[in-house]
Amino acid sequence: MVGLATVFGSGAMTNSIPEIENNDLLFVIGSNTKENHPIVALRMMKAARKGAKIIVADPRRVPLVRFAHIWMQQRPGTDVALLNSMMHVIVKEGLMDKDFIVFRTEGFDQEFLKGLDEFTPEVGQKITGVPKEKIIESARLYAGASSPGIYYTMGITQHSHGTDNVFCIANLGLMTGSLGKESSGVNPLRGQNNVQGSSDMGCSPNMYPGYQKLTISTIKEKFETLWGAKLSDREGMTATDMLSAAEAKELRAMYIMGENPVLSDPDMAHTVKALGALDFLVVQDIFMTETAELADVVLPAASFAEKEGTFTNTERRVQRVRKAVSPPGEAREDLWIIAELSNRMGYEMKYPRIEAVFQEMGMAWPAMGGMTYSRLNRGGLQWPCPTQDHPGTPYLFKGGFPRGKGRFTVVKYRPSIEETDEQYPFILTTGRELFHYHTGSMTRRVDALNKVSPEPFVEINPEDARDMAVEDGAMLRVTSRRGAIELKARLSKRPDRGVVFIPFHFKEAAANVLTNSKALDPFCKIPELKVSTVRIEKV
């Protein structure tokens, strides 16, 4: 979420889930909300029942399309062109919020306007495949709404130009002044249950908890005092860099807590090789995952139902989980494991209660400083919540942006790194489906879920299937420049012709054997999981 943080100074959902039902226009781009954020989707449908219009922009006919007023089926990887041509229309027709632009933003200048010039609806149509009438109508609807919300997720960020996509979305929100108000904003929906929290807590190579940059010496000093330790001022490696460094023998040991990069990261062969090159790998998890198999030491952890603590959801709401059952065998809470390890390494961690950790978090990051476990008992609190009497913050930027003014960014359209050719004529996009979750290490151990969704599949448009004489359920081999997997065909009108979709939950045909780990967003190093090219053959 680097993109939003750069232009606003804070990179989280600007509004709350309950506010969704009062949007009068919802622009949902690159998010299969009904399957990936089902409860957010219920609020969207509630908004529609109250009279709101929904615009969906997605290369696949996702289930929310059924409730949409307009569906724009852009070609994968062409979001910048789509958004720029919507903005072109807004500027040309003078639908901007001029006061907002003058008083609350910067960068709405000649250069920015020139950047939009070429993106006429006609050009937009040519690049994205979306009819220009739809682009024009969507732009008018968005700009004309009084409480519009934009919602997006991985479909926007998992590209080699993911940050550009986010900049475009921010530009759109700023241009129409649809920010800093109730039910009006720019909302990245976070995938896993505590993505927000793990970013907030500083699990990132260049920031301490609370997005505080470690290169600023006063901040480093603050943490040195709080933790009573000398800290390094060298920025660390991103997850993607770690793997390359491991291969190059620059990195020797890794400690992986609760993640399964072998399945979740692109280019599985590369991940396995990199982790194999380490001198020492420790994995802490609740199951023997594909990554744990490679470890030298595996530490059994407690699940969410076996411990106390807090999660932060996609709308910045910090909420409590509580211990309901005891962990199996000798499995222990991650907290206990980390503290024990730290003590053995000579850095003492002693917390009489778990809430003592939470209190320290509040000292490290004032935005959570006003929270206590007992205050969280009634429905949680949304950060920022700096003092004990602060009610929490349902929507952001009421009085202005943390960085002062919201910033417009000139964004050029760059095609995705892999483009189709004769050898690899199909575009592959990956994602999740309703009945499974992430790498499946949890859901695939739930019999009932496995029963309704037992096996991997590749979604292919029936017309493409007909051209290749492929029937529903036929075995196909899908090959990319990196590898091949075999799985069943599922004929579906969801993807357009020339596009196929594979969910990445299934280890027996892991989509990330095919995806490209080398195509990175230059800004935040997110790999291009949403667009790679493949060829398809019958087996």
């Binding site: 889930i17 954020h37 089902p38 409860i39 957010v40 219920l42 449908m45 509630k46 409730f67 896993q192 505590n194 993505v195 907030d200 807590m201 500083g202 190579p205 301490y208 908890p209 933790w227 660390g236 997850a239 990195l251 040991a253 890794m254 400690y255 807590m257 993640e259 990069p261 020492f280 199951f287 023997m288 595996v298 059994p300 699940s303 969410f304 139902a305 807090t310 999660f311 996609t314 989980v321 211990k323 309901a324 059952v325 199996p328 065998g329 499995a331 809470e333 991650d334 907290l335 390494m345 778990i354 978090m361 490290a364 309703l434 499974h436 979750y437 949890m442 859901t443 151990r445 999981l529």
Partner: protein
């Protein structure tokens, strides 16, 4: 616009447009209901919510009648209670009396009402609906002999979930709730219908036979799957999570998706890791915590000494708590001495 009305002798000022039932609930007047749910459109099907309005010839249903200026409502009197008792009695006359083995016993609105109206004998004993066949879907047990046709499941599926997987088919005595053409249920399996059913007609299959309502301890928690952060209530019996529900007043209004509602069995999976493991000669061997932790600390120490702290890196998880994530990065930064820390969920 505000209107003033009287309920059971108390004068109340309320917003125009509310129904008698809404106002009564807000002001703690108890009116029994079976087909109403504040999250759904009013339906007026069960007629249990009958109330008397002074000056009206007959009782009216509180859930569908809007309040008006000067209205004088009686929520209970002998006649109304007699009518309500008869309604419950009629429902019970066509309902299996196997409460002693019913999963829902202890959490069943119909059972509550039978108790409240002390219905021991039934004046209307007669023919009962008999349905054979069971639904082969893996999530939801549908026992239509227990259905009282309140229509809540049909409405929640349509109004809230937008799926319309079930309908009320046939009329009169043979009316029943089922998927079109009485096929097996094939839907999103969100279980919204299960959560609103006032009887044991719809139950979660994976919870069957796992524990009586009275033995259950309820623990408030958060769904471990996606970032919506739905509030869930874990129902625990014998150190096992046997069911998940959600409170209607929560952030997610009590609604969940299939993963949150039915996806909890991984927790008690036999595959769970139970012991620390150390790989020796390519094979994992069980170890004690002391052994494993000492070994990890020693190896990290060696590597740090030989190659520097930046030769060590950590990946944390979007599935772990804030506290764990906080301590994990603190461990790497303060104990190991590196900023090599990231989480996969940047993707």
């Amino acid at each position: 616009m505000m209107v003033t009305l009287t309920i059971d002798g108390r004068s109340i000022k309320v917003r125009d447009g509310s129904t008698i039932l809404q106002v009564s609930r807000e002001h703690d007047f108890y009116i029994p209901t079976l087909c109403d749910d504040p999250r759904l459109e009013p339906y007026g099907g069960c007629r249990l919510c009958l109330v008397q309005i002074k000056g009206m010839p007959r009782p009216v249903t509180a859930c569908t009648t809007p309040v008006t200026e000067g209205m004088n409502v009686e929520t209970t009197n002998e006649e109304i209670e007699g009518l309500r008792r008869t309604i419950v009695e009629l429902l019970l006359s066509d309902h299996p009396t196997d409460c002693m083995i019913c999963e829902k016993a202890g959490d069943c609105t119909l059972q509550e009402l039978a108790y409240f109206y002390n219905l021991r004998e039934n004046r209307f004993e007669g023919e009962r609906r008999q349905y054979s066949g069971s639904d082969g879907n893996p999530f939801i047990e549908r026992n239509m002999e227990k259905c009282i046709l309140c229509g809540k499941c049909v409405r929640v599926c349509n109004e809230v979930q937008g799926v319309s997987a079930i309908e009320i088919a046939y009329r009169g005595f043979s009316a029943k709730v089922c998927p079109p053409f009485e096929k097996d249920l094939d839907c999103e399996f969100c279980g919204q219908c299960v959560s609103v059913c006032p009887t044991g007609a719809l139950m979660g299959k994976i919870s069957m036979g796992k524990g009586r309502q009275k033995d259950i301890e309820k623990v408030e928690s958060i769904c471990p799957y996606c970032g919506c952060g739905c509030n869930i209530t874990l129902h625990v019996a014998r150190n096992e999570v046997i069911r998940v529900s959600s409170r209607p007043e929560s952030l997610n209004e009590g609604w969940l998706c299939v993963k949150g509602r039915f996806g909890f069995r991984f927790n008690s999976s036999p595959d769970r890791l139970k012991h620390p493991l150390i790989k020796r000669n390519g094979r994992f061997e069980e170890a004690s915590w002391d052994e494993a932790l000492d070994y990890v600390a020693e190896r990290f120490g060696e590597i740090k000494e030989k190659h520097g702290a930046d030769a060590i890196a950590g990946l944390s998880s979007a599935r772990c708590t804030n506290e764990e994530n906080y301590l994990f990065q603190k461990f790497l930064r303060a104990a190991v001495g590196t900023n090599n820390i990231d989480h996969c969920a940047r993707y």
